[in-house]
Symmetry: C2
Subunit: 147 residues, 2 copies
DNA sequence: TGCTAAACTGACGTTAACGTAAAGTTCTCG
DNA sequence: CGAGAACTTTACGTTAACGTCAGTTTAGCA
């Protein structure tokens, strides 16, 4: 949507697009957070697509917003990883049952993320309420002081 | 409120009450996140109050919920630290201007925390919306599949 | 075709946030 | 008052998440 589909990106470009560094990207691949570019064309250089950039952004977002470790992220995204790998397979899958399974897995995976997000939101709401309350109390005291 | 006021706690008890370890508490003191128990009675053992337990819980909460580093927390809580130290001073402060200043500092500090919390909530809201949307899309696809 | 920027693979370095072990001290309770 | 549990300081160890450096290889373009 933003760029030409099928555009091949190199690691440096991906790094810049996602606000990280090549080293970070290689590290994520090393620990299995990004798909192992074992199948790296015939050449040596890693090459990425827009989808990879999107995935990287997702990872960084979840990491920052939820404060998850990379290991936790790996587990959380396992399903998505599999789904990404099966993406083309899905397109060509004649088998409706297979398509259904893939979609359902994706749904479960999204549900998992949603659970984490809403739970975190709940806790932040609670904290916010307490802070507002404290703030109110302090303002009352200030008012009394002026009386 | 929960326990007898003025109860003196030792580091091990505080650790258990806050779900951490003595080492962590000492470390937090070492980096200035907890008040330096320089004034540690005549004996050697650190001793704490309920207020210290509350503060420790606050720290852990902010750390976990906002994913702040201990250094960031230090800065964020600097004002509160000063306030805590001035707590008794506040009680006896004849000077209304001083009392006002202390209250206002506390208010500013709470405002700082609130800003972080609401901002984080906003981002989580955004993420939640996107996840819900994706979830909806997937369900639609599943429905189409059944048709 | 040759040159340079960028990428590659090790491999070791770094920082935060503690864990852990050792050797000595202090509390507290029978 | 004596013994063991809990505390003290000091210091080195550990893990995650990269940074950095060196030496080599690849990509692409003048």
């Amino acid at each position: 949507m933003s760029t030409v589909a099928g555009k091949r990106l190199r690691i440096g470009e991906v790094a810049e697009l996602t606000g990280t560094t090549p080293r970070t990207i290689r590290y994520y691949e090393e620990i299995g957070l990004l798909p192992d570019s074992g199948a790296r064309a015939q050449g040596q250089h890693r090459c990425y697509t827009d989808a990879d950039v999107a995935r990287m952004r997702e990872i960084l977002r979840l990491k920052d917003l939820l404060g998850l470790s990379l290991e936790q992220l790996s587990k959380l995204l396992e399903a998505e990883t599999a789904r990404a790998e099966l993406r083309q397979e899905y397109q060509q899958a004649e088998d409706a049952a297979t398509q259904r399974r893939i979609l359902e897995e994706a749904l479960g995976h999204i549900a998992g993320q949603l659970e984490l997000v809403t739970d975190r939101k709940r806790q932040l709401d609670q904290l916010e309420r307490e802070l507002v309350e404290r703030s109110r109390t302090l303002r009352e005291r200030l008012a009394e002081l002026s009386a």
